[in-house]
Symmetry: C2
Subunit: 218 residues, 2 copies
DNA sequence: ATTTATTTTTAGATTTGTCTAAATTTATTT
DNA sequence: AAATAAATTTAGACAAATCTAAAAATAAAT
């Protein structure tokens, strides 16, 4: 089944709102897709008739299993493209969202598969959000900051707490970005600083403050 | 100025039809964008009001300078994405057109620039069609087949005459594709065969029949 | 528990891009 | 040159997605 760009945007927004809130309202949805509540209602009725959402007038609505599947597919594409834009084209974290918003609607399963292979099956987008796999499964992994993770294990950077420009600058200097693999060599109790080794770069020391901002999966 | 996907498709089709034919008709255009003549007329009137085409009812129409500029920009994106899909994602010549047809409408100048850099400013797409530069300029270069080109010069493969699967197979074996750089070492008068050297591969000999199908720029 | 405020839905209109069928213009034939 | 054929345009309708303004339902406040 093929869905219009509008339908896809509504579906994706419902998913994202469900992630962030216990309950989703027509007004919230309208806000998310940048329309008016009346327009959202129209679309809700259409999505309901297509069995994409559970919907009763004046009551809350949720994605059906079908709707969830569709949403995850769109989000997969969005995040893969974000990863591509940052890690291949060298764009910045904050520049890629708007572009990925357009690319996510390019509909071609073969393309997504090849892109995923080309990027080497990344698990997290540049903002640290997980990328659903081809079956819509999101790998649930506990991520912790470097200050608390164990030594000598290969870790993968999965998200950064402080996403300010200053932090970004610093991380660039350390050759650290989402997806970077690194190892913790030593922790210094004196000031909580940590020596890490990023693949093919010389080992360096991070302050505790920085270490606490870098989250990794094992 | 931003144009709808529909407008862009019409503009691009007019350009392509103008390239291939001396004159473009409403019916031809309708065929190219897969609609009916009546719909094409509606769009022609709209494009005329936006000064994208020169148009008088019942007469032939042409792109204005503005229209030409827009078309070249779309075609640039289309061909850059085709190049990406083939040379980075490893897709096949005949698979990429449909996908690029969607990607070409993603509108972000920074994206196009970064993509162009990432691909190292290619001049020809995988079908051998030239890729307009950022100013819409198409580098006019005379291309000739290997059988007639001079020895010892660095040549760039720009198009393949016979695009059959059999030929494709053979070229893959020789590590030749659009954009490949090669040098002609020697020509054998006995049977017209040619010894070539493709970057970092051992020199090999092509039959005259093959050589005549491979077009290069100097 | 009424009243008031907020949210959601309905009703009717608009825009974009499309269609069919009929009318008009241009091209072709006899 | 008149008749026929083909191409193009007009007229009117339709689907998708949106809007405003008004009505209906739910939630909050006195």
């Amino acid at each position: 089944m093929k869905y219009s760009v509008s339908e896809e945007n509504y579906i994706k927004s419902i998913f994202n709102l469900q992630e962030a809130n216990s309950t989703v309202s027509t007004t919230m949805l309208a806000g998310a897709v940048n329309t008016k509540a009346a327009s959202a209602t129209d679309m809700l009725k259409k999505l309901h008739s297509k069995k994409i959402i559970n919907y009763r007038p004046y009551k809350n609505f949720t994605l059906t299993d079908i709707g969830n599947k569709i949403a995850l597919d769109i989000i997969r594409k969005h995040r893969l493209w974000e990863y591509f834009l940052v890690n291949k084209l060298g764009m910045k974290w904050d520049e890629v969202h708007v572009i990925a918003e357009e690319m996510e609607h390019v509909n071609n399963p073969m393309l997504v598969q090849k892109l995923d292979e080309y990027l080497d099956h990344p698990c997290f987008d540049p903002h640290g959000d997980p990328i659903p796999d081809k079956n819509g499964k999101i790998r649930v992994v506990k991520q912790s900051d470097i200050a608390t993770l164990p030594l000598k294990k290969i870790l993968t950077v999965s998200s950064i707490k402080d996403q300010s420009v200053k932090m970004l600058d610093l991380l660039k200097h350390y050759h650290i970005q989402i997806g970077t693999k690194l190892k913790i060599n030593k922790k210094f109790d004196f000031d909580g600083s940590v020596e890490i080794k990023v693949e093919k770069y010389a080992a360096t020391i991070l302050s505790e403050q920085v270490a606490k901002n870098i989250f990794c999966t094992v």
